[in-house]
Symmetry: C2
Subunit: 337 residues, 2 copies
């Protein structure tokens, strides 16, 4: 900038004004500056220097709890990100994806991220990255959970929603089952019964299991009999194969509540293949009320992830008045009776 000022025969302040307060500069000076800049290949004020001076980077950090590949594979996460992006674009903020690799460096990266605030996508309760975020002293909003002192939370009440949907899905069932997201960071495919929801590290998954358990108990069924099948990723085909297993035993399950529409559609495919009648012999419900849910006439829990992303971003960037609880609803179609 000093060079440009020299060449244009003005002071640095005139150059600075030219880029920031065009109205404070005479057209004459302005032209001289722009000329000199063009000759020197100067493209405008250095963003890093500005950030230092302003004390703000005008950038929002986004931390994905899962490996980036999983995150992008997950339509819910993608909708959430799109909501964040919308707010960033709107306010002229950049959106910095902090790449986490599940190693100790992650915390370092969080500390070194040049951002004004963070939005965090679902992670485990004990993730050290959360400590790094707290330590950084920057505002942060977590989606899903875990709740954490000083960090704000944007989420539907997963437990209540799971309870509501569980009451519909499991109504009249004798052998209900749950198709779950992974129960721990090992992400192993498991089929088990009598799972203690409290041992699950992912807050969203835990809350949903708790809600389903509430429903099971309210319906007079025995939680310890309920089979929980957890997939490694949110994958339709994996869900299909698990569902086949659940349906091909002597006393097959007669209701499956899934944690995503992708999983639920996999269940429907398995049922179709095996000639199991829906919802007579098997009730099925999904989660998120995606296009796939509507297309398959699937009952599903509706929530607007995109709006939640936008809301989380606004909150992180300093909107105070947004503590309104997030809405959800149970959408009943023809896969539950």
């Amino acid at each position: 900038m000093a060079q440009v000022a020299d060449r244009a025969g003005v002071s640095v302040m005139t150059v600075s004004y030219t880029y920031n307060r065009a109205d404070r500069v005479s057209i004459e000076s302005r032209n001289k500056v722009l000329h000199a800049a063009a000759e020197l290949g100067y493209a405008g004020p250095d963003p890093a220097a500005r950030s230092l001076r302003y004390g703000s980077t005008r950038t929002l950090g986004v931390i994905l709890g899962e490996h980036l590949t999983y995150a992008f594979d997950n339509p819910q996460a993608v909708a959430f990100l799109a909501g964040i992006a919308e707010v960033c674009a709107d306010r002229g903020y950049g959106m910095l994806i902090v790449p986490t690799a599940g190693t100790a460096d992650d915390s370092v990266r969080v500390g070194q991220a040049a951002v004004d605030a963070f939005v965090i996508w679902t992670m485990t309760d004990d993730d050290p990255v959360l400590d790094a975020v707290s330590a950084s002293g920057r505002p942060a909003v977590i989606h899903g959970g875990p709740a954490r002192g000083g960090l704000q939370l944007v989420s539907i009440d997963n437990r209540a929603a799971a309870f509501a949907m569980g009451m519909k899905t499991f109504a009249g069932a004798r052998r209900p089952a749950i198709l779950s997201f992974p129960l721990d960071s090992a992400r192993q495919t498991v089929i088990a019964s009598g799972v203690d929801p409290e041992t699950v590290q992912f807050p969203v998954t835990r809350d949903r299991l708790l809600g389903y358990r509430d429903a099971i108990i309210a319906l007079g069924l025995e939680w310890s009999d309920v089979v929980v099948a957890a997939t490694a990723t949110n994958d339709e085909r994996e869900a299909e194969s698990l569902a086949e297993q659940l349906l091909s035993v002597d006393h097959p399950v007669d209701a499956i509540a899934a944690m995503s529409d992708e999983q639920a559609v996999g269940v429907l495919t398995a049922a179709a293949t095996m000639g199991v009648s829906i919802p007579r012999a098997l009730a099925v419900s999904g989660w998120d009320d995606s296009r796939a849910a509507a297309a398959n006439r699937l009952s599903s829990v509706a929530q607007d992830l995109r709006a939640q992303g936008a809301s989380a971003a606004r909150l992180a960037l300093g909107a105070q008045d947004e503590a309104a609880p997030v809405e959800w609803s149970v959408v009943l179609r023809s896969t539950t009776s």
Copy 2:
């Protein structure tokens, strides 16, 4: 940092060393510093100040030519992003998504992005954002196109690949058609014949149309007879509905080359619904050789978008030796004869 130094009774350099060259500091001083930092709630060196001092932000900028929602909806784009993220995570770089809104501000945002280099995902030839990138003087790698002086390019040879696949898909056909991505930024759904590929603004789409035309001509068919159906987005259902139209006329088309596997699967669904035999009455080919392609026994052009993302990121970040052309191949399954 000065405050921490004061409180710890050392100089600022000792504080700086504590965070950057722990080995250059005695354990004693180190502890004093960390104590003081903890008391003051100091979380380590300010990233913005560092960027200024280092002359580098350790952040890679990513510019998506399409609206973010489309970009995230597109599995190819997502794979590409995952490849970039991988390299960033590996090198400790941040990944800044520059939100573009299709307005004049976009160029401003590019200029103000605090990044060392850019990776750009397919955009139109005349996008002003490209000028902003050039003007910023930072290294940039474009995926797909357009080629641009000074900017590097990572892409398969779309024209050659389309030619190769066209020769297989259209072989023996009498009424071939092409299911295309949008032909211009208006993104309108259109069905037309005799489309001039050169008028198409998106380089990737243009090159593929050129390649298909090469094949049509090589097979002795008439390009002006060939129907080009362009979808508004890369959507399976939209492709299905377009395919239904192409198949429900008096002389239905007998070969459809699509530009994505999602589109091609939509075509297969339409054919199944209408009882059209594949590949006897209708040959179909897709693009990208996704999991869906394998699952549907779909012939498809294979390319590794994730690897291309990684390669683009490395190139942007300064790898010199990577000018190797990107590989692709034609995978023939049972939807072509």
